[in-house]
Symmetry: C2
Subunit: 432 residues, 2 copies
Amino acid sequence: MVWLTQLLALISVTTALDNGLLRTPPMGWMAWERFRCDVDCKDDPKNCISENLFRDMADRLAEDGWRELGYEYVIIDDCWMSKQRDEHGRLQPDPLRFPGGIAKLARYVHDRGLKLGIYADMGTHTCMGYPGTTLDKIEIDAQTFASWGVDYLKFDGCHSNPVEQMIGYPRMSKALNATGRPIAYSCSWPVYVGGLPPNVNYSLMGEICHLWRNYYDIQDSWDSVINIVDWFSNNQDALQPAAGPGRWNDPDMLVIGNFGLSIDQARSQMALWAIMAAPLIMSNDLRTLSNDARAILQNKVAISINQDPRGMQGRRLLQEKSHIEVYWRPLSNSASALVFLSHRQDMPYLYHTSLAKLHYDPGSYEAYDVFTGRTMTGLTHTTDLKVSINPSGVVMWYIYPTKHKRFHNTWKEHTLSTYHVDEAEAVPPEVL
Amino acid sequence: MVWLTQLLALISVTTALDNGLLRTPPMGWMAWERFRCDVDCKDDPKNCISENLFRDMADRLAEDGWRELGYEYVIIDDCWMSKQRDEHGRLQPDPLRFPGGIAKLARYVHDRGLKLGIYADMGTHTCMGYPGTTLDKIEIDAQTFASWGVDYLKFDGCHSNPVEQMIGYPRMSKALNATGRPIAYSCSWPVYVGGLPPNVNYSLMGEICHLWRNYYDIQDSWDSVINIVDWFSNNQDALQPAAGPGRWNDPDMLVIGNFGLSIDQARSQMALWAIMAAPLIMSNDLRTLSNDARAILQNKVAISINQDPRGMQGRRLLQEKSHIEVYWRPLSNSASALVFLSHRQDMPYLYHTSLAKLHYDPGSYEAYDVFTGRTMTGLTHTTDLKVSINPSGVVMWYIYPTKHKRFHNTWKEHTLSTYHVDEAEAVPPEVL
């Protein structure tokens, strides 16, 4: 019963994390999907979970154009800890793999204009068996992270029960606030209780966490990506309203640049994560990224759609018998994004539609094709649209009423440097 | 009963197709997987099934280095026909899409040093509803194809029953032979009766057909590729002994260069098709192929393994709990090929093994890594091997006893032009 008392006391922690952080979805890099729990620094020194890995990634984010695009968080995941807390009961990093300590690593990251994220687990042990954060350790761990200069906490939920989670996740929110340091707070809570109401209270989630993992871990395969998209879309009535500035659903990391996605599939993940207002947190090897993957992850218009200040998550509008799906997200300034996704496995499909069929208001529009850089002018809601969509690929459009915005494209495809506005009256998309 | 008589008469058509064709698996290009039954030449003139498409692909095969590597067949699939036979009962091409006729297209192809394949269907209609080849039409269709100068027939099996198939497939074999023109004969018969003994008699198959489709059509996805590989491997005891010079299992087309495979997955298909002694028949758009796809499809050592004159199909040797699988194919001159395949979806896996564990005889070996171009020297059967395999990727080695062959690699990776033999005693792999 003491637990229930604690529980009720915690209900008062509403808007605890309405602290101005993450008004748009976080962007950055996280270790897990690509580097897992590789702690073998002897045989695999370049890839093991160590301060060197995070310094390498911070260097890449700072030097290769990522930071300027918004990719700012460098996030440590599981397996960074020593197997024992220190003599004061504090978490401490593995001394061989993080000899400089986390505070020094945070300074390294901050010196490059970036932010550091770290991982802990609400429970007796982390998922990989390192020291967990039991209820009695929440305050000390929050204080430790703040003292190190940490800017983001991923709080996992292995090895705890639902009652402990119901107490622990809000308590960590309060504890982070109490440190006085602005720390973004990512909660894995929903995924441990099924991800859906009534087990999950998404109003409460938005009040205590900046973002939360709703569903299973992503893996390096198209199967995994599309399974996640299907689940989020099938449950969008429960999930979509939960998102907004400072509170985000998290379908997990971007796996673009690894081994399992084709170029078309990589574009699909980028487009759908933008529609879903999802965190753009890459897990890949930025040291060896292909130019194709880089171009997709650094697509300025896709990023600007993801980061739209209105912060409204998009929805799946249509599932056609042809296995074409249409996704839509309303954006600031009367603009919107459309994504046409092909679930086919044969050949490019020519999809016929119109903006009217997609519930657009009568009027004149222009559309910018996010991945080809082409602009379509002179559209009205009744214009016949023929969209060729590759198997497991997407076509993504940024659409705006002509009165509001207008621009012309003089680029070569895939470059974003020479866009110019054509008319005095015209206003390009914010990003351009 | 007349059917049974015919059936018995046909049993005598043994070795009918032991006509010297396809002593190694056929290589070339086929329309189906990439272009399907696109007959809309008005809206999609570049991609519709028409003589222009096949001329385009013949040009590419002849001009872009494919022909010299062995890719010689340009194969028409379904949807080339007029919906009606001509006044003499002969098949005829659609007059709008093939205005020049097939004979002229064959000359175009032959003029470029290539060979032309065509499609027909044992049954009342083709799979897409064009005129089928019923039992009474087999001779006339064989004669028509020969008169046009066709070099290869894919004989599908939609819209027929097993008894008709049992009569029709051998009869077509005999009819093709009777034309006097050497025509390679691809039978879809096994797939229509389940692909396995006792429904399929693979000894008979090898006597009447040069190759045969055992299993479902491939699609443009890794799921499809790996499903096919799993089926062939799970049934390798029935399938592998059926293959040899002039008689090949056909796991279907290479989809490398389309939309659904990552680079690693594309290498996996190339490697596994080489192990399986499978036809290397691409279905992609050779006009727009990426350099990555081209490099994989034009990998000379992978091709030479596929085309090994001994013609023995390889096998899956091991399925590890780690989700690593090992494939092996014995080659001419005491050489062999090994493929390490990762079914994982996380990160590169370091697999520890030795040649002894893979049943190699005691001795000294060298190994050439097919996709990196690196050579490992000084191996013995007991050398500890550490193989890093990407998720859904492969590592492929060409291995040979040191006494027999030896070479040194002075290339840059992925180029095959500057290989040279280092010692008087050394013999490079045939292809190099």
